[in-house]
Amino acid sequence: MISEKSLETGFVKNLKHNLGNFGLSPVAIGLFVLLGFAPYLIGDEYILRLLVISLLFGTLAMGFDLSAGYIDVANWGYAGLMGLGAYTSALLLTNLGISPWIGTLAGAFMAAIFGLLIGVLTLKMDGMFAAILAWFIGLILMALTTSLTGLTRGALGLNVDLYFNTGWSKPYFYVIFVICIVTYIVLRRVTNSNLGLAFSALGQDAEAARTCGVDPMKYKVINFTISCFVAGLCGGFYAHFMGILTPDIMSTKHTVEVLVIAYIGGRRSIWGPLLAAFLVVPVFEYLNFLMEFKYVIYGLLLILVMIFYPGGIAHFYNYIVGIFNEKKRKLTGPESNPFA
């Protein structure tokens, strides 16, 4: 006979396990739920908008981390792909009248197709070359957007209709919130699965991965495609959130912004970059009054993190958890780990 209590713990354990598969720890769920109520808890429109931007950059950084952290290719053309998604959605709306919701998805698929192409093209190259080739493709996208004035209006800028007929942040918050959660769950799921194992293996030692039977082409391309899909998705959101597009959205400086967030958050964790966005974006908003010195601090922080703690927040967390586990081990006796 099974007592009620053990049944319950069994159920909870099961649930926990299942959620864990989606990368949702109780803490993560709690934070997400809290965040979900934020528009009702926070009356301050400015802070709400900051949250929207943090969510946007967090999502971008998670997508970036998928390729930078796992297969070790920092996609320098990331902003270009984001811009591609944005322009695709915007042009579909203005020229064909296609709903921005479908357009956003179409933009994401467009970016994913480009990601697939870049993945195939850079297959034979080292990480460094692949990164630079992706950069060049991003620059070409930007140059084309600037030059094809008949289509994109180039530097004149493209007026884009918003998702909603309002400028208030609340509805946009929920759009990006859903995008963010879905991205988070999918990416956590992917990286915790066998697929993630293949990505990690490829990123850490491509040759050893090949001898283990991991097909570099296939998994690199899958990885790039997913990562670029996220970029395109966020691009579409950006377009219908800001209402204006210029080719500047594709410039390298935006890639660097995302990259900084991803690295401060910690590579190969997905959650680190998301968390970092909520630190970096607001902190630097607060520093606006410092003018140029804000960016000086930005640079200093980047250098300090890279020199002293290149693993970022996620690594720090793992380190703390590691200490705890070690203590636990010592307490529970030599059973588990006499050698490590």
Partner: protein, 239 residues
């Protein structure tokens, strides 16, 4: 007969690294590949494992031609290898290191994790299985790499100087492990410098010198071959 190479040749620019090498490896044996430094042993091994594409020659595995296939394809056909300098996925746990090979090695397992654990026990991996590979020592990494190679369901295992760097006290254990692997049905080709290892485990050996094969046969036979003595043993210290 499991593996056969016929007239394999590999060039780097003007340099011929491997010249017209033909060997035959039978199923179930441990085949040694020896020769002085720079004799082209590793290059030859890279040709078999698909890292290099030979310019000339033919390699057959289980009656099938496999010349020029990629390492991934070869892995799925049943050829696995280890590296001269141990390679691991440093930021994955030891278990995940093996799991990659179980999952992608070409054969479906119902419970990859369990299979990986069994293999790790089999090779005598004695550290905690959830430790990052980054924190393992060489000995542990070597065993890990073996487990990983076995995890791909290999029928042929290519070992590149697997005994290098072991202390004399660790050696017997390792020789025993290699034997056990062979007994589990895996054919082994190994490159080795450590003579004690060669004499301890190999059934037959081939000798390479300046990229060409100069002898092939049973261990005693080869070690008494005057040409081999001249080319190889005369210059190297015998362990």
């Amino acid at each position: 007969m499991l593996l056969k190479t016929e007239g394999v040749e590999k060039r780097f620019g003007g340099l011929v690294a491997v010249k017209d090498v033909s060997i035959t490896v039978n199923k179930g044996e441990i085949f040694g590949l020896i020769g002085p430094n720079g004799a082209g042993k590793t290059t030859f091994l890279n040709c078999i494992s698909g890292f290099y594409k030979p310019e000339k020659g033919k390699i057959t595995f289980k009656e099938q031609e496999i010349t020029g296939l990629s390492p991934t394809q070869l892995c799925h056909k049943g050829i696995a290898r280890t590296f001269q300098i141990v390679r691991s996925f440093p930021k994955l746990s030891a278990l995940d290191n093996v799991k990659v090979a179980v999952v992608y090695g070409g054969k479906q397992h119902k419970n990859p994790e369990k299979h990986a654990k069994e293999l790790m026990d089999f090779v005598g991996f004695n550290a905690a299985k959830d430790v990052l590979a980054d924190n393992l020592n060489t000995m542990q990494l070597k065993r890990l790499e073996l487990a990983r190679a076995l995890a791909t369901n290999s029928e042929l295992l290519l070992l590149d100087e697997v005994a290098a760097g072991l202390t004399p006290s660790e050696l017997p254990d390792f020789i025993d492990l290699i034997r056990r692997i062979r007994d589990s049905g895996v054919t082994i080709i190994c490159i080795e410098h450590v003579m004690k290892f060669i004499m301890g485990v190999c059934d037959r050996i081939a000798v390479l010198n300046f990229g060409a094969k100069i002898a092939e046969g049973a261990v005693e036979e080869i070690l008494n071959n005057p040409e081999v003595m001249k080319a190889y043993l005369g210059e190297e210290n015998v362990h």
